[in-house]
Protein backbone atom coordinates (compact mmCIF):
# COMPACT_ATOMS: atom_id res chain seq x y z
CA UNK A 1 0.00 0.00 0.00
CA UNK A 2 1.13 3.49 -0.76
CA UNK A 3 0.01 5.82 2.07
CA UNK A 4 1.01 8.90 0.09
CA UNK A 5 -1.27 8.07 -2.84
CA UNK A 6 -4.02 7.05 -0.45
CA UNK A 7 -3.89 10.42 1.30
CA UNK A 8 -4.14 12.22 -2.03
CA UNK A 9 -6.99 10.10 -3.32
CA UNK A 10 -8.78 10.48 0.03
CA UNK A 11 -8.62 14.27 -0.27
CA UNK A 12 -10.50 14.24 -3.59
CA UNK A 13 -13.04 11.65 -2.43
CA UNK A 14 -13.86 13.60 0.76
CA UNK A 15 -14.19 16.85 -1.21
CA UNK A 16 -16.62 15.11 -3.55
CA UNK A 17 -18.79 13.53 -0.82
CA UNK A 18 -18.96 16.64 1.37
CA UNK A 19 -20.54 18.55 -1.52
CA UNK A 20 -23.11 15.81 -2.02
CA UNK A 21 -26.65 17.12 -1.52
CA UNK A 22 -27.76 14.11 0.53
CA UNK A 23 -24.88 14.60 2.96
CA UNK A 24 -25.75 18.30 3.27
CA UNK A 25 -29.41 17.48 3.94
CA UNK A 26 -28.37 14.79 6.46
CA UNK A 27 -26.21 17.30 8.34
CA UNK A 28 -29.01 19.87 8.38
CA UNK A 29 -31.55 17.26 9.51
CA UNK A 30 -29.35 16.12 12.42
CA UNK A 31 -28.75 19.73 13.39
CA UNK A 32 -32.47 20.56 13.37
CA UNK A 33 -33.33 17.44 15.40
CA UNK A 34 -30.61 18.05 17.99
CA UNK A 35 -31.42 21.73 18.45
CA UNK A 36 -35.16 21.17 18.70
CA UNK A 37 -34.78 18.24 21.13
CA UNK A 38 -32.60 20.29 23.45
CA UNK A 39 -34.91 23.29 23.24
CA UNK A 40 -38.19 21.40 23.64
CA UNK A 41 -37.28 19.23 26.63
CA UNK A 42 -37.13 21.10 29.92
CA UNK A 43 -33.93 19.37 31.08
CA UNK A 44 -30.87 18.81 28.93
CA UNK A 45 -30.51 15.26 30.31
CA UNK A 46 -33.96 14.35 29.03
CA UNK A 47 -33.06 15.97 25.71
CA UNK A 48 -30.02 13.76 25.47
CA UNK A 49 -32.11 10.64 26.05
CA UNK A 50 -34.57 11.59 23.29
CA UNK A 51 -31.66 12.38 21.00
CA UNK A 52 -30.15 8.96 21.75
CA UNK A 53 -33.22 7.15 20.50
CA UNK A 54 -33.34 9.17 17.29
CA UNK A 55 -29.63 8.75 16.63
CA UNK A 56 -29.63 5.00 17.16
CA UNK A 57 -32.19 4.66 14.37
CA UNK A 58 -31.26 7.45 11.98
CA UNK A 59 -27.46 7.43 11.90
CA UNK A 60 -27.07 3.73 10.97
CA UNK A 61 -29.87 3.97 8.39
CA UNK A 62 -28.54 7.01 6.53
CA UNK A 63 -24.90 5.91 6.74
CA UNK A 64 -25.49 2.40 5.41
CA UNK A 65 -27.84 3.40 2.58
CA UNK A 66 -25.89 6.44 1.44
CA UNK A 67 -22.59 4.55 1.46
CA UNK A 68 -24.04 1.59 -0.43
CA UNK A 69 -25.52 3.83 -3.14
CA UNK A 70 -22.29 5.82 -3.35
CA UNK A 71 -20.26 2.65 -3.90
CA UNK A 72 -22.54 1.44 -6.70
CA UNK A 73 -22.61 4.87 -8.35
CA UNK A 74 -18.81 4.88 -8.25
CA UNK A 75 -18.54 1.59 -10.18
CA UNK A 76 -17.11 3.21 -13.32
CA UNK A 77 -14.90 5.49 -11.27
CA UNK A 78 -13.54 2.45 -9.41
CA UNK A 79 -12.84 0.78 -12.78
CA UNK A 80 -10.91 3.83 -13.90
CA UNK A 81 -8.91 3.84 -10.67
CA UNK A 82 -8.15 0.13 -11.03
CA UNK A 83 -6.72 0.82 -14.50
CA UNK A 84 -4.28 3.29 -12.92
CA UNK A 85 -1.04 2.28 -11.19
CA UNK A 86 -2.79 1.81 -7.84
CA UNK A 87 -3.24 -1.21 -5.62
CA UNK A 88 -6.82 -2.30 -5.18
CA UNK A 89 -6.29 -2.11 -1.45
CA UNK A 90 -5.40 1.59 -1.73
CA UNK A 91 -8.54 2.29 -3.76
CA UNK A 92 -10.91 0.42 -1.45
CA UNK A 93 -9.47 1.86 1.76
CA UNK A 94 -9.49 5.38 0.29
CA UNK A 95 -13.18 5.09 -0.54
CA UNK A 96 -13.91 3.68 2.91
CA UNK A 97 -11.97 6.43 4.67
CA UNK A 98 -13.57 9.04 2.40
CA UNK A 99 -17.10 7.94 3.30
CA UNK A 100 -16.27 7.49 6.99
CA UNK A 101 -14.60 10.90 7.23
CA UNK A 102 -17.34 12.83 5.44
CA UNK A 103 -20.21 11.20 7.31
CA UNK A 104 -18.37 11.64 10.61
CA UNK A 105 -17.96 15.34 9.86
CA UNK A 106 -21.69 15.51 9.10
CA UNK A 107 -22.47 13.79 12.42
CA UNK A 108 -20.11 15.99 14.35
CA UNK A 109 -21.63 19.17 12.96
CA UNK A 110 -25.21 17.92 13.27
CA UNK A 111 -25.08 16.26 16.69
CA UNK A 112 -21.64 16.84 18.22
CA UNK A 113 -21.75 20.63 18.27
CA UNK A 114 -25.27 20.88 19.81
CA UNK A 115 -24.26 18.36 22.51
CA UNK A 116 -21.14 20.38 23.26
CA UNK A 117 -23.30 23.49 23.60
CA UNK A 118 -26.11 22.02 25.73
CA UNK A 119 -24.68 18.99 27.52
CA UNK A 120 -20.88 19.06 27.54
CA UNK A 121 -20.19 16.42 30.19
CA UNK A 122 -18.92 12.83 30.23
CA UNK A 123 -22.25 11.45 29.02
CA UNK A 124 -22.28 13.95 26.15
CA UNK A 125 -18.75 12.99 25.10
CA UNK A 126 -19.57 9.28 25.23
CA UNK A 127 -22.59 9.96 23.04
CA UNK A 128 -20.50 11.86 20.46
CA UNK A 129 -17.82 9.15 20.37
CA UNK A 130 -20.36 6.32 20.20
CA UNK A 131 -22.22 8.06 17.34
CA UNK A 132 -18.96 8.43 15.43
CA UNK A 133 -18.28 4.73 15.96
CA UNK A 134 -21.77 3.85 14.72
CA UNK A 135 -21.19 5.99 11.60
CA UNK A 136 -17.94 4.19 10.75
CA UNK A 137 -19.36 0.74 11.60
CA UNK A 138 -22.26 1.20 9.20
CA UNK A 139 -20.03 2.56 6.42
CA UNK A 140 -17.99 -0.62 6.86
CA UNK A 141 -21.10 -2.84 6.69
CA UNK A 142 -22.25 -0.90 3.59
CA UNK A 143 -18.97 -1.70 1.85
CA UNK A 144 -19.50 -5.33 2.76
CA UNK A 145 -22.91 -5.41 1.05
CA UNK A 146 -21.53 -3.53 -1.95
CA UNK A 147 -18.73 -6.08 -2.33
CA UNK A 148 -21.05 -9.08 -2.03
CA UNK A 149 -23.18 -8.45 -5.11
CA UNK A 150 -22.84 -6.66 -8.45
CA UNK A 151 -26.50 -5.76 -8.64
CA UNK A 152 -27.32 -2.35 -7.20
CA UNK A 153 -30.88 -3.22 -6.17
CA UNK A 154 -29.72 -6.38 -4.40
CA UNK A 155 -26.92 -4.48 -2.69
CA UNK A 156 -29.25 -1.80 -1.35
CA UNK A 157 -31.73 -4.49 -0.29
CA UNK A 158 -28.97 -6.29 1.58
CA UNK A 159 -27.99 -3.04 3.32
CA UNK A 160 -31.57 -2.37 4.38
CA UNK A 161 -31.81 -5.94 5.71
CA UNK A 162 -28.62 -5.44 7.74
CA UNK A 163 -30.06 -2.25 9.20
CA UNK A 164 -33.43 -3.88 9.98
CA UNK A 165 -31.67 -6.81 11.57
CA UNK A 166 -29.48 -4.70 13.84
CA UNK A 167 -32.11 -2.15 14.83
CA UNK A 168 -35.24 -4.32 15.16
CA UNK A 169 -34.93 -8.02 14.52
CA UNK A 170 -31.93 -8.64 16.76
CA UNK A 171 -33.71 -7.17 19.79
CA UNK A 172 -36.81 -9.18 19.01
CA UNK A 173 -34.77 -12.37 18.83
CA UNK A 174 -33.08 -11.61 22.13
CA UNK A 175 -36.46 -10.93 23.79
CA UNK A 176 -37.80 -14.18 22.38
CA UNK A 177 -34.80 -16.03 23.77
CA UNK A 178 -35.32 -14.39 27.16
CA UNK A 179 -38.93 -15.48 27.38
CA UNK A 180 -38.25 -18.99 26.19
CA UNK A 181 -35.50 -19.52 28.73
CA UNK A 182 -36.75 -17.32 31.54
CA UNK A 183 -36.25 -20.09 34.07
CA UNK A 184 -32.51 -20.09 33.48
CA UNK A 185 -29.95 -17.47 34.50
CA UNK A 186 -29.26 -15.70 31.20
CA UNK A 187 -27.63 -12.50 32.43
CA UNK A 188 -24.07 -13.35 31.43
CA UNK A 189 -25.23 -14.68 28.09
CA UNK A 190 -27.04 -11.37 27.57
CA UNK A 191 -23.80 -9.48 28.06
CA UNK A 192 -22.09 -11.70 25.51
CA UNK A 193 -25.01 -11.35 23.08
CA UNK A 194 -24.89 -7.57 23.25
CA UNK A 195 -21.50 -7.71 21.50
CA UNK A 196 -23.20 -9.18 18.45
CA UNK A 197 -25.05 -5.94 17.72
CA UNK A 198 -23.19 -2.63 17.33
CA UNK A 199 -26.38 -0.62 17.90
CA UNK A 200 -27.14 -2.53 21.12
CA UNK A 201 -23.59 -2.08 22.29
CA UNK A 202 -23.84 1.67 21.74
CA UNK A 203 -27.17 1.88 23.53
CA UNK A 204 -25.95 0.00 26.60
CA UNK A 205 -22.83 2.15 26.70
CA UNK A 206 -24.78 5.42 26.76
CA UNK A 207 -27.64 4.28 29.02
CA UNK A 208 -25.14 3.17 31.66
CA UNK A 209 -23.43 6.53 31.44
CA UNK A 210 -26.78 8.20 32.01
CA UNK A 211 -27.16 6.27 35.25
CA UNK A 212 -30.64 5.05 34.49
CA UNK A 213 -29.67 1.37 34.35
CA UNK A 214 -31.77 0.87 37.48
CA UNK A 215 -34.73 1.01 35.13
CA UNK A 216 -33.47 -2.14 33.45
CA UNK A 217 -33.93 -4.38 36.51
CA UNK A 218 -31.60 -7.23 37.46
CA UNK A 219 -30.09 -7.54 33.98
CA UNK A 220 -29.34 -3.84 34.21
CA UNK A 221 -27.40 -4.51 37.37
CA UNK A 222 -25.38 -7.23 35.65
CA UNK A 223 -24.72 -4.87 32.75
CA UNK A 224 -23.75 -2.16 35.21
CA UNK A 225 -21.34 -4.64 36.75
CA UNK A 226 -19.76 -5.53 33.44
CA UNK A 227 -19.88 -2.33 31.42
CA UNK A 228 -19.77 0.11 34.33
CA UNK A 229 -16.06 -0.24 35.09
CA UNK A 230 -13.28 0.96 32.83
CA UNK A 231 -12.37 -2.55 31.66
CA UNK A 232 -15.95 -3.04 30.47
CA UNK A 233 -15.97 0.32 28.69
CA UNK A 234 -12.71 -0.46 26.95
CA UNK A 235 -13.98 -3.91 26.02
CA UNK A 236 -17.15 -2.46 24.49
CA UNK A 237 -15.10 -0.06 22.35
CA UNK A 238 -12.91 -2.98 21.32
CA UNK A 239 -16.18 -4.64 20.28
CA UNK A 240 -17.20 -1.61 18.21
CA UNK A 241 -13.74 -1.46 16.63
CA UNK A 242 -14.10 -5.10 15.65
CA UNK A 243 -17.41 -4.16 14.01
CA UNK A 244 -15.47 -1.66 11.88
CA UNK A 245 -12.54 -3.89 11.00
CA UNK A 246 -14.13 -7.29 10.37
CA UNK A 247 -16.70 -6.23 7.69
CA UNK A 248 -14.07 -3.98 6.10
CA UNK A 249 -11.50 -6.77 5.84
CA UNK A 250 -14.05 -9.20 4.39
CA UNK A 251 -15.13 -6.61 1.80
CA UNK A 252 -11.49 -5.86 0.96
CA UNK A 253 -10.81 -9.54 0.35
CA UNK A 254 -13.86 -9.77 -1.91
CA UNK A 255 -12.89 -6.63 -3.81
CA UNK A 256 -9.32 -7.80 -4.38
CA UNK A 257 -10.44 -10.83 -6.35
CA UNK A 258 -13.48 -9.23 -8.00
CA UNK A 259 -13.89 -8.98 -11.78
CA UNK A 260 -14.90 -5.44 -12.65
Amino acid sequence: MNPDKMKKLLKYVVADIIQNKIVLVYTALLLIISLSVFNLENSAAKGLLSLLNIILILVPLICIIFSTIYMYNSAEFIELLVSQPLKRRTIWLSLFCGLATSLSIAYFIGVGIPILIYHADATGFIMIITGLFLTVVFVSIALLSASLTRDKAKGIGLSISFWLYFSLIFDALVLFLLFQFQDYPLENIMVALSFLNPIGLSRVQILLQMDISALMGYTGAIFRDFFGNSAGIILSYVGLTAWVIVPLLISLRKFKSKDL
Partner: protein, 238 residues
Protein backbone atom coordinates in the same frame (compact mmCIF):
# COMPACT_ATOMS: atom_id res chain seq x y z
CA UNK B 1 5.32 -5.72 -25.49
CA UNK B 2 2.13 -7.51 -24.40
CA UNK B 3 1.97 -11.29 -24.69
CA UNK B 4 -0.98 -13.38 -23.61
CA UNK B 5 -0.71 -17.16 -23.42
CA UNK B 6 -3.81 -19.34 -23.54
CA UNK B 7 -5.97 -17.09 -21.41
CA UNK B 8 -9.44 -18.34 -20.58
CA UNK B 9 -12.15 -16.58 -18.63
CA UNK B 10 -15.58 -17.89 -17.77
CA UNK B 11 -18.48 -15.89 -16.42
CA UNK B 12 -20.80 -18.58 -15.18
CA UNK B 13 -21.37 -20.83 -18.18
CA UNK B 14 -20.38 -18.18 -20.70
CA UNK B 15 -16.82 -18.42 -22.00
CA UNK B 16 -15.86 -14.78 -22.48
CA UNK B 17 -12.29 -15.68 -23.44
CA UNK B 18 -11.45 -19.09 -24.80
CA UNK B 19 -7.77 -19.98 -25.02
CA UNK B 20 -6.60 -16.65 -26.47
CA UNK B 21 -2.89 -16.37 -27.22
CA UNK B 22 -1.65 -13.21 -28.82
CA UNK B 23 1.34 -10.90 -29.11
CA UNK B 24 0.95 -7.15 -29.41
CA UNK B 25 4.17 -5.37 -30.32
CA UNK B 26 5.42 -1.81 -30.11
CA UNK B 27 4.63 0.70 -32.84
CA UNK B 28 1.52 -1.12 -33.99
CA UNK B 29 -1.99 0.20 -33.98
CA UNK B 30 -4.29 -2.77 -33.57
CA UNK B 31 -8.03 -2.85 -34.11
CA UNK B 32 -9.87 -5.30 -31.83
CA UNK B 33 -12.94 -6.27 -33.82
CA UNK B 34 -15.79 -8.70 -33.48
CA UNK B 35 -19.52 -8.84 -32.86
CA UNK B 36 -21.06 -7.66 -29.59
CA UNK B 37 -20.24 -9.90 -26.66
CA UNK B 38 -17.29 -11.57 -28.39
CA UNK B 39 -14.90 -10.89 -25.52
CA UNK B 40 -13.12 -7.73 -26.69
CA UNK B 41 -13.83 -5.78 -23.54
CA UNK B 42 -12.98 -8.78 -21.35
CA UNK B 43 -9.62 -9.03 -23.14
CA UNK B 44 -8.93 -5.33 -22.55
CA UNK B 45 -9.98 -5.61 -18.92
CA UNK B 46 -7.69 -8.60 -18.46
CA UNK B 47 -4.74 -6.59 -19.78
CA UNK B 48 -5.58 -3.84 -17.28
CA UNK B 49 -5.94 -6.23 -14.36
CA UNK B 50 -9.66 -5.52 -13.90
CA UNK B 51 -10.55 -9.09 -14.77
CA UNK B 52 -8.37 -11.96 -13.63
CA UNK B 53 -8.29 -14.81 -16.15
CA UNK B 54 -9.06 -18.32 -14.89
CA UNK B 55 -6.16 -19.79 -16.83
CA UNK B 56 -3.18 -18.62 -18.83
CA UNK B 57 -0.69 -15.82 -18.35
CA UNK B 58 -0.39 -12.22 -19.49
CA UNK B 59 3.05 -10.66 -19.77
CA UNK B 60 3.84 -6.99 -20.02
CA UNK B 61 7.44 -6.29 -21.04
CA UNK B 62 8.37 -9.93 -20.33
CA UNK B 63 7.02 -10.04 -16.78
CA UNK B 64 3.72 -11.47 -15.63
CA UNK B 65 1.11 -8.91 -14.56
CA UNK B 66 -0.51 -11.20 -12.04
CA UNK B 67 -1.00 -9.34 -8.73
CA UNK B 68 1.13 -6.48 -10.08
CA UNK B 69 0.04 -2.88 -10.36
CA UNK B 70 3.07 -0.72 -11.16
CA UNK B 71 3.05 -1.75 -14.86
CA UNK B 72 -0.18 0.21 -15.29
CA UNK B 73 1.79 3.47 -15.14
CA UNK B 74 2.84 2.51 -18.70
CA UNK B 75 -0.77 2.24 -19.90
CA UNK B 76 -3.29 4.92 -20.77
CA UNK B 77 -6.88 3.64 -20.75
CA UNK B 78 -9.94 5.31 -22.16
CA UNK B 79 -13.10 3.49 -21.02
CA UNK B 80 -16.18 3.04 -23.16
CA UNK B 81 -18.37 4.75 -20.56
CA UNK B 82 -16.67 7.23 -18.29
CA UNK B 83 -18.46 8.26 -15.13
CA UNK B 84 -16.77 10.40 -12.57
CA UNK B 85 -17.70 11.50 -9.04
CA UNK B 86 -20.40 14.05 -9.69
CA UNK B 87 -19.16 16.90 -7.55
CA UNK B 88 -15.63 16.90 -8.93
CA UNK B 89 -14.78 19.55 -11.48
CA UNK B 90 -12.77 18.78 -14.62
CA UNK B 91 -9.80 20.44 -12.90
CA UNK B 92 -10.24 18.16 -9.84
CA UNK B 93 -10.30 15.02 -11.97
CA UNK B 94 -7.19 16.04 -13.92
CA UNK B 95 -5.31 17.08 -10.76
CA UNK B 96 -6.29 13.82 -9.07
CA UNK B 97 -4.90 11.76 -11.96
CA UNK B 98 -1.72 13.83 -11.95
CA UNK B 99 -1.34 13.12 -8.22
CA UNK B 100 -1.86 9.41 -8.85
CA UNK B 101 0.62 9.11 -11.70
CA UNK B 102 3.22 11.81 -11.53
CA UNK B 103 6.01 9.32 -10.75
CA UNK B 104 6.89 9.47 -14.45
CA UNK B 105 8.42 12.88 -13.79
CA UNK B 106 7.72 14.01 -17.33
CA UNK B 107 5.58 17.03 -18.06
CA UNK B 108 1.96 15.93 -18.62
CA UNK B 109 0.83 15.99 -22.21
CA UNK B 110 -2.08 18.41 -22.30
CA UNK B 111 -2.47 18.62 -26.09
CA UNK B 112 -5.95 17.14 -26.02
CA UNK B 113 -7.07 19.28 -23.07
CA UNK B 114 -6.27 22.32 -25.21
CA UNK B 115 -7.49 21.10 -28.57
CA UNK B 116 -10.80 19.89 -27.06
CA UNK B 117 -11.20 23.26 -25.35
CA UNK B 118 -11.41 21.63 -21.91
CA UNK B 119 -9.17 24.32 -20.43
CA UNK B 120 -11.99 26.82 -20.87
CA UNK B 121 -14.41 24.80 -18.72
CA UNK B 122 -12.11 23.51 -15.97
CA UNK B 123 -14.47 24.60 -13.17
CA UNK B 124 -17.52 22.75 -14.53
CA UNK B 125 -18.71 19.82 -12.44
CA UNK B 126 -18.56 16.36 -14.00
CA UNK B 127 -22.30 15.79 -13.38
CA UNK B 128 -23.18 18.78 -15.59
CA UNK B 129 -21.13 17.61 -18.61
CA UNK B 130 -22.67 16.07 -21.70
CA UNK B 131 -21.74 12.52 -22.70
CA UNK B 132 -19.41 13.79 -25.41
CA UNK B 133 -17.58 16.18 -23.10
CA UNK B 134 -17.12 13.41 -20.55
CA UNK B 135 -15.59 11.29 -23.35
CA UNK B 136 -13.21 14.17 -24.09
CA UNK B 137 -12.08 14.19 -20.47
CA UNK B 138 -11.52 10.41 -20.60
CA UNK B 139 -9.51 10.77 -23.82
CA UNK B 140 -7.41 13.62 -22.46
CA UNK B 141 -6.61 11.56 -19.33
CA UNK B 142 -5.62 8.49 -21.36
CA UNK B 143 -3.02 10.43 -23.35
CA UNK B 144 -1.84 12.71 -20.54
CA UNK B 145 0.93 10.67 -18.95
CA UNK B 146 2.89 9.70 -22.02
CA UNK B 147 2.10 5.97 -21.72
CA UNK B 148 3.77 3.28 -23.89
CA UNK B 149 0.45 1.56 -24.46
CA UNK B 150 -2.88 3.19 -25.23
CA UNK B 151 -6.03 1.17 -24.74
CA UNK B 152 -9.04 2.89 -26.28
CA UNK B 153 -12.48 1.32 -25.90
CA UNK B 154 -14.84 2.83 -28.48
CA UNK B 155 -12.95 6.13 -28.38
CA UNK B 156 -15.01 8.09 -30.88
CA UNK B 157 -18.49 6.98 -29.80
CA UNK B 158 -20.29 10.13 -28.74
CA UNK B 159 -17.70 12.58 -30.02
CA UNK B 160 -18.64 15.20 -32.63
CA UNK B 161 -16.92 14.84 -36.04
CA UNK B 162 -14.42 17.61 -35.37
CA UNK B 163 -13.30 16.24 -31.99
CA UNK B 164 -13.26 12.74 -33.38
CA UNK B 165 -10.86 13.93 -36.12
CA UNK B 166 -8.65 15.63 -33.52
CA UNK B 167 -8.52 12.40 -31.53
CA UNK B 168 -7.61 10.43 -34.68
CA UNK B 169 -4.76 12.81 -35.45
CA UNK B 170 -3.50 12.39 -31.90
CA UNK B 171 -3.66 8.58 -32.21
CA UNK B 172 -1.70 8.71 -35.47
CA UNK B 173 0.99 10.94 -33.98
CA UNK B 174 1.34 8.66 -30.93
CA UNK B 175 1.62 5.63 -33.20
CA UNK B 176 4.43 7.36 -35.05
CA UNK B 177 6.15 7.92 -31.70
CA UNK B 178 6.38 4.14 -31.42
CA UNK B 179 3.49 3.58 -29.00
CA UNK B 180 1.33 0.49 -29.04
CA UNK B 181 -2.32 1.41 -29.61
CA UNK B 182 -5.25 -0.97 -29.08
CA UNK B 183 -8.61 0.26 -30.34
CA UNK B 184 -12.03 -1.30 -30.30
CA UNK B 185 -14.61 0.32 -32.51
CA UNK B 186 -17.69 -0.58 -34.46
CA UNK B 187 -17.19 2.29 -36.88
CA UNK B 188 -14.85 0.51 -39.26
CA UNK B 189 -14.67 3.34 -41.82
CA UNK B 190 -12.75 5.57 -39.46
CA UNK B 191 -10.16 2.90 -38.65
CA UNK B 192 -8.79 2.71 -42.22
CA UNK B 193 -6.10 5.33 -41.85
CA UNK B 194 -5.29 4.49 -38.23
CA UNK B 195 -4.59 0.83 -37.88
CA UNK B 196 -1.81 -1.50 -38.96
CA UNK B 197 -3.20 -4.82 -37.70
CA UNK B 198 -6.60 -6.40 -37.26
CA UNK B 199 -7.43 -8.72 -34.38
CA UNK B 200 -10.77 -10.42 -34.88
CA UNK B 201 -12.61 -12.30 -32.16
CA UNK B 202 -15.75 -14.38 -32.14
CA UNK B 203 -17.42 -16.06 -29.18
CA UNK B 204 -14.36 -15.59 -27.02
CA UNK B 205 -12.00 -17.15 -29.57
CA UNK B 206 -9.36 -15.49 -31.68
CA UNK B 207 -10.45 -15.87 -35.30
CA UNK B 208 -7.49 -14.16 -36.94
CA UNK B 209 -4.76 -11.64 -36.21
CA UNK B 210 -3.34 -10.18 -39.42
CA UNK B 211 -1.61 -7.16 -40.86
CA UNK B 212 -4.09 -4.81 -42.46
CA UNK B 213 -2.28 -5.05 -45.82
CA UNK B 214 -2.37 -8.84 -45.80
CA UNK B 215 -6.07 -8.76 -45.01
CA UNK B 216 -6.78 -6.38 -47.85
CA UNK B 217 -4.82 -8.54 -50.29
CA UNK B 218 -6.55 -11.75 -49.26
CA UNK B 219 -9.99 -10.34 -49.62
CA UNK B 220 -9.20 -8.15 -52.62
CA UNK B 221 -10.95 -5.20 -50.98
CA UNK B 222 -9.58 -1.70 -50.52
CA UNK B 223 -11.68 -0.73 -47.52
CA UNK B 224 -11.47 -2.37 -44.08
CA UNK B 225 -15.26 -2.34 -43.71
CA UNK B 226 -15.72 -4.28 -46.93
CA UNK B 227 -12.92 -6.71 -46.12
CA UNK B 228 -14.46 -7.48 -42.73
CA UNK B 229 -17.95 -7.78 -44.23
CA UNK B 230 -16.60 -10.30 -46.73
CA UNK B 231 -14.98 -12.38 -44.01
CA UNK B 232 -18.09 -12.28 -41.85
CA UNK B 233 -20.33 -13.43 -44.66
CA UNK B 234 -17.89 -16.22 -45.50
CA UNK B 235 -18.04 -17.24 -41.85
CA UNK B 236 -21.80 -17.42 -41.99
CA UNK B 237 -21.71 -19.50 -45.14
CA UNK B 238 -19.60 -22.13 -43.38
Amino acid sequence: MIVTKNITKKFGKLKALDDVSVTFSKGECIALLGPNGCGKTTLIKSLLGMVVPDNGTIEFNQSSIKNKWAYRSRIGYMPQIGRYPENMTIANVIDMMKDMRKENNTAPDEDLVKSFGLNNMMQKKMSTLSGGTTQKVSAALAFMFNPDVLVLDEPTAGLDPLSSEKLKQKIISEKQNGKLVLITSHILSELDDLITEVFYMQEGKLLFHKKLEALKQETGEEKLSKAIAKIMSEQEAL
